[in-house]
Point group: C2
């Protein structure tokens, strides 16, 4: 964060510029993958001097961490909003799944954040894992509520959440907008499948 | 492949040596992740001159491709064997899920193969995707058979397979042998969950 005075406005502008750079860099990632794209190629794609790019992102890890922060921030916001809605647990779970798929596949920072996040330096990795844990907990809470309300069967809640989030996160690896299924359809198909995995038999 | 005469024996030895190197390199990957580990660090960890390492793996991409080949070969072998077994579709699916989790989390090439495979050069990526498609098809076949036999409900088979394989592949990102669940338990919990997602309601 480069600002000392008026930090909040400057910081918003800084973040905005970083998002713009990321948007322009998408081509370089599409060609080489996040791992394969060098800072040189990113600078070239976004039409910036390399030194200028380094001001916004001192390294590819900084770029990856920024994507993680944006992506997890958005996911947590959505989960918090859903938790406040007064709808049954299965509908809440559907809303969370559809929102997650949309964030990963439609937001520019989404799929980048879901590549190899383990390559982050330890302090940043810890922050990311802490947020991921909070997000996982939001899923466990909604499933536990569904069990309590008799909508969902009693099951291994932790393993269920690992299965659901794994499937959602992995979409960043294979989904193509040119493919046979749209983002919304995929979100709803996944929601159907996972709700079916959780509902009481005979219901 | 360095051999011109007796290719099969020499090739087996070459592959064997590559697996040994990979096993020794596991420490470097554990410390830095596959993306973060440099060829220098790998050479140091396996106690080899860098030039010697390059003879076996000319690049990190060569190493990644080798892991993919080993891992997908093993998965396809297991799927073929399961397809030949005369058990109901839900039991076949369980066997495939348990075998997949074991290959990813127990074999040295497993989790490495399930990192960022998109960074492979195009010709290699095509080979990998072709095998992945074949493997996906094995899952679709067993689910379609289950539907035909009235064990599974009729559903979107493609999306179901994406969900299942996504969850399984993502385990490489988070599983730790020091964690709260063993590889076998995880495989069986996932199998329970996914079979539940597919079975007819009321059964």
């Amino acid at each position: 964060m480069p600002a000392k005075t008026k930090p909040s406005r400057r910081y918003r502008q800084f973040t905005q510029r970083r998002l713009e750079i990321l948007r322009s860099a998408a081509d370089a990632f599409a060609r080489h993958g996040f791992t394969g794209a060098t800072m040189e190629e990113i600078a070239e794609t976004v039409n910036m001097a390399k030194g200028n790019l380094y001001y916004y992102f001192p390294s590819k890890q900084a770029l990856l961490f920024f994507c993680q922060e944006q992506s997890l921030g958005r996911l947590l916001e959505q989960a918090d909003a859903t938790a406040k809605s007064a709808v049954p647990a299965d509908e809440q779970l559907r809303a969370m799944i559809v929102a997650h798929v949309n964030t990963i596949l439609r937001e520019i920072y989404g799929s980048t954040a879901h590549t190899d996040f383990r390559s982050l330096p330890e302090t940043q990795l810890k922050q990311v894992i802490k947020k991921r844990d909070r997000y996982e907990k939001a899923y466990r809470t909604v499933i536990e509520r569904g069990i309590k309300d008799g909508i969902f069967r009693s099951c291994n809640v932790k393993a269920s959440v690992w299965a659901i989030l794994g499937a959602l996160n992995w979409t960043a690896q294979w989904f193509s907008p040119a493919g046979s299924i749209s983002v919304d359809e995929l979100g709803n198909q996944f929601a159907d499948f996972f709700i079916h995995a959780l509902v009481q038999k005979g219901k």
